[in-house]
Symmetry: C2
Subunit: 318 residues, 2 copies
Amino acid sequence: LDEFDLIDRFFRRQRVQREDVALGIGDDAAVVRAPADGRLVVTTDVLVGGVHFPAHTGPSDIGYKALAVNLSDIAAMGASPAWATLGLTLPDPDESWLEHFASGFLALAERHCVQLVGGDLTGGPLCIAVQLTGIVGTSGYLSRGGARDGDEIYVSGTVGDAALGLQVVDGTLRVSEQDGAYLRGRLNRPVPRVELGRALAGRASAAIDVSDGLVADLGHLCNSSRVGASLEVDALPLSPAYRRALPGVGWEAALTFGDDYELCFTVPLGYVDDVERISRELDLPLTRIGRVGGDKVTWTMEGEPLSLSEHGYQHFRK
Amino acid sequence: LDEFDLIDRFFRRQRVQREDVALGIGDDAAVVRAPADGRLVVTTDVLVGGVHFPAHTGPSDIGYKALAVNLSDIAAMGASPAWATLGLTLPDPDESWLEHFASGFLALAERHCVQLVGGDLTGGPLCIAVQLTGIVGTSGYLSRGGARDGDEIYVSGTVGDAALGLQVVDGTLRVSEQDGAYLRGRLNRPVPRVELGRALAGRASAAIDVSDGLVADLGHLCNSSRVGASLEVDALPLSPAYRRALPGVGWEAALTFGDDYELCFTVPLGYVDDVERISRELDLPLTRIGRVGGDKVTWTMEGEPLSLSEHGYQHFRK
């Protein structure tokens, strides 16, 4: 089997065939048509075996997550994902591995109407580079730079689960079978908040996805917006599984690990009611965790200031 | 130095600031604006250390080539390159390596007015994933699928030099110092034929870039176009350095190795004069090497049929 056969066999069978794709996989490049407004968002994220996921992660989960982390970036911009390219490097052209990888990737692509329009398959160490282009809707896009003093700060879903999921996978955290399955799922199958991002466009003043940890990512948002903020650790939304593990693991995982791919966003007071409505409509908790203001980012716990490393998850782990 | 500092230091200092980029590096995704016509081409190519280039290749050459191979795909579509993203995985956040890599990448980007709009930097085995989006001009785009019986087949520049360049680097081919420098340059600094591709749009019936070897790539073109072709090995354009090495190395390198990133294209008879004019205007040899027709692809040498493996360069090298 050579590169062309493999791409043919596993990726050309995708079911998504977008009307705005004039020429898909199989030429030197794809040809797509941007909408009349013309505004697109462009992102790329790379997953490396042993760095971004444990080496023994199942190929279907890897395929899913490689697309999910990119969808999360598009979500944080409030855009609709459209076209993906995939650069896949793997040690062996193992058919079973590829089939499962493709199934995880393509199932998530289908859910978000994303068409894979280009691919490059190479022998080498396991490395998955996905690039995703999205379409900006009529409400415009979200960025990190629009937060203003007085805005409320929210985070979607729950935070810290992926961190505990990794500890479960590593064997360093023991929990019930049910909690273990939940936490592993949150690590391997994060749900990109695409619908939320779209609903927030035109309402939230700034947004970022929580990939590097809440402390680091809120730092990026506040830096870009040139604002400070007051955050309350006690307000962080934790899952029941995290709450059960909390006495042992503490708050650090929820604050600094990342990999949850929730959205953290700021909302002017006039739009707070909209946030509650969106939360109900999407059946997704959106929790207020602080407020924009001051000249630095401060965290408190039970009213007392908390000292935190300013850095969340760093990609150059030693 | 963390990921953000490194990206800041080495990639944000690019000089290209396109008017159609509303938001560049530094948010969850970039925001760009497609032209009124809306048609874009999208491609991705990944380079892996030890697979696509010898492990000891200089970082500036690696940075150059990672972009060049993607520019070559955009060239084969007859489009104008516009926005790039870079997923870079490297074993150590070595500042000197990154500075040279960025200088090779950004110098070529500047030459083609390409803006880097997104990046992801990770620790891991050396792997460079570039994604490039281009804009289709008013003459439309080229594809592999438009060749028709009777069209003339051309290739730009010279073929086989990169193959010999690798042999020089490997130490398996001994040539003069001057020829060695030329051949290594062709391996490490291939010139993407962007201007040629644009000039051919609306004139050539099909095009492909020679990345996998002329035999394989012509096979792809003929497959996509559902045509056969007659090719003459004697007509292949060889550089003076290749001609001097020819008695020892033979024709195989020119036929099956690839990595030259020349364009191979087919032209209806009515446009042959245009090809000669374009060749003069670009000061670039465009050589007729055969004709479309028949029901398979045949190669002759001194009038005799030649038997060839149908496969060019395969990415899963053992």
